[in-house]
């Protein structure tokens, strides 16, 4: 099978996303001999700079220069890709807010299969591609078989594929802008509103007492606050706590919240969804406490305790206070 393989790569002000190398790693697992094409869109000097960085990874780069794409509006980029991609193409992109916006509809327009959020490529036999995914918030993995005889759009979980060590590709930039033509959509980008900073900056703390769904109700937050106070730490949280409006958004750790680099991270009643773990950088020492012994957090934590945080944390707080008072 000689289906052409493509990667759509995001860039910010000309700096290409980490996914550029990760997508290449995934492509090499689909077809070790592939000579993939990176597709990048935008306008002006930023786009040129993104193209030249991609030359290091990809043998060919398709450049789509269009003033309408100076902000990556998925609705417009979908239309551009439908015009450019050959039948039966394999297209990879990162499973983040842009990929989620673009990919499902693109697979319909291209009449290809669609596999979202791939964690690994398990193998390929002819037109059948086997992909590993996760379901149920990461508690269970699944082997998924996909018929790629008419092509496939595959989104790849950020961080799941280790960037390969590769020889410089000396890529050739091909300007495809003329083939795209005018782009219009019923959806218009207006502006980006930056997140509010909040009263506590969780990115500056070396210890975080982080709470998830296991805190159960707002009134129980004092348990975490007491421990944080005893430790000289800050309270952070996972998404469900913000969704419930128990803590402000600025306390949320994760891909849609803050990226933190504490030394010690106490994950209390946090299941450990990948979007949450994506906000943890710098390899903190993770101590996880969760009632559910199968919580995914235990796979990535250093220390795990199966217990009810509502009972465990107050005892931990007392112990910490006891030690503090001895030391004083």
């Amino acid at each position: 099978m000689t289906a052409r393989i493509f990667a759509y790569v995001m860039h910010k002000a000309g700096v290409v996303d980490d996914s550029a190398a990760e997508l290449l790693a995934a492509i090499k697992q689909i077809d070790a001999a592939a000579a993939p094409t990176a597709i990048v869109s935008g306008s002006g000097a930023e786009l040129d700079s993104a193209c030249s960085s991609l030359c290091a990874f990809y043998p060919e780069i398709w450049k789509i220069s269009n003033a309408a794409l100076s902000y990556p509006n998925a609705e417009l980029i979908r239309k551009a890709l439908v015009k450019l991609l050959p039948p039966g193409a394999i297209l990879l992109l990162a499973h983040e807010h842009f990929g989620i916006d673009l990919a499902p509809g693109l697979s319909i327009r291209l009449n290809t299969a669609f596999v979202p959020d791939a964690l690994a490529i398990a193998g390929r036999v002819g037109v059948l591609l086997n992909v590993v995914r996760q379901e149920f918030g990461g508690q269970i993995s699944a082997n998924v078989e996909c018929d790629i005889s008419s092509g496939v759009v595959l989104t790849v979980r950020p961080g799941a594929f280790k960037p390969p060590v590769i020889a410089p590709a000396n890529g050739n930039v091909v300007d495809k802008s003329g083939e795209v033509g005018a782009l219009t959509s019923g959806r218009r980008y207006v502006e980006t509103v930056m997140a509010e900073s909040g009263e506590v900056d969780i990115t500056k703390h070396s210890i975080l007492v982080s709470v998830g769904r296991g805190i159960q109700e707002k009134d129980n937050l004092s348990i975490a606050q007491d421990l944080a106070e005893a430790l000289g730490a800050a309270v952070s949280c996972s998404r469900p706590v913000v969704d419930a409006k128990w803590l402000e958004k600025s306390r949320q750790v994760g891909s849609s919240g803050k990226t933190v680099k504490p030394k010690v991270y106490l994950a209390c009643g946090i299941s450990g969804a990948f979007q949450h773990l994506a906000g943890l950088k710098g390899s903190p020492f993770i101590i996880a406490i969760n009632k559910n012994p199968k919580a995914p957090i235990f796979q990535v934590a250093d220390i795990g305790i199966v217990d009810d945080i509502l009972e465990f944390l107050p005892e931990l707080t007392s112990k910490v206070r006891e030690l503090r008072s001895k030391a004083a």
């Binding site: 319909i108 959806r187 070396s206 969704d243 600025s250 796979q299 305790i305 931990l316």
Partner: protein
């Protein structure tokens, strides 16, 4: 505004452990608890709030069987005026594209200005909304965390990285996938569910929806799950299995060793 919200009944995994069956082909269901897919609940609440502001009607639809009626009733108890079940043996084993195909056929029977889905369901795929929009040739936006109704269009924000928000204007009709946290879904008690227990739910099969059975179901699915397995992502935590007192002691020592108690 006529609003259609696509919902799904899923295994409730927020508080419950998931067990695989012995063969790894499915989830052990003996003690499984089902609930509405949580993001769908936010989508229904958002629809109800929009209708409260500008008028109109909220319909909830699901693809499934009799057992799935319970989530329709739950959302009707929240205030959705109509529940619709799309059910046919030919639908069994549909992949996301199959489900989107079934929903598209239903959408085309009506006149909806706005179609909402939850951002993703139990498979974490976030696929059906975007597929449905492409099939209908409606504009689409995912991860929506605010909606303001303007004449003929909506002003929406999408949740992007770092908690930043991407503001867009989108023409109607359109399809949006709703992110959790956009609102505070109202509480539904047993009394509310009893109150809608006898409200009829319309059911449509493949022939009423004029769906070619060859385009949905197991045979049309290009994507198939082969089996499940329990993942081993990292090296795995060192599990402390002493009593609580010992564990507290140990955690305190570890925090101190990492420089936490200075």
């Amino acid at each position: 505004m006529e609003i259609l919200v696509c919902v799904k009944r899923v295994l409730d995994t927020s508080e419950n452990e998931i067990e695989l069956n012995r063969e790894g082909t499915g989830i052990e269901l003996d003690e499984a608890v089902y609930s509405i897919n949580e993001p769908d609940n936010y989508a229904v609440e958002e629809a109800l709030q929009i209708v409260a502001r500008v008028g109109g009607k909220v319909t909830v639809v699901t693809v499934g069987g009799e057992d799935d009626e319970e989530v329709l009733r739950r959302e009707m108890a929240m205030g959705a005026q109509q529940g619709v079940l799309l059910s046919d043996a030919a639908f069994n084993g549909s992949d996301a594209k199959g489900v989107a195909t079934i929903l598209k056929s239903f959408v085309q029977k009506g006149a909806y200005h706005l179609i909402l889905t939850g951002v993703q369901a139990d498979d974490g795929g976030a696929q059906v909304g975007g597929m449905l929009a492409a099939m209908l040739d409606y504009p689409f936006a995912s991860l929506v965390n605010s909606i303001e109704v303007l004449p003929g269009k909506l002003k929406i924000s999408r949740e992007i990285e770092g908690g930043n928000r991407e503001i867009n204007e989108i023409e109607l009709p359109c399809v949006l996938s709703i992110q959790t946290g956009i609102n505070e879904p109202r509480y539904v008690g047993m009394r509310g569910i009893r109150a809608v227990a006898s409200v009829p739910i319309s059911t449509y099969g493949a022939s009423e929806l004029q769906i070619d059975p060859g385009t949905v179901g197991k045979l049309a699915a290009k994507v198939k799950r082969l089996d499940y397995f329990v993942p081993t992502l990292g090296k795995g935590a060192e599990m402390l299995d002493g009593g609580r007192e010992d564990n507290v002691e140990r955690v305190t020592e570890l925090i101190a060793a990492k420089g936490g108690l200075r």
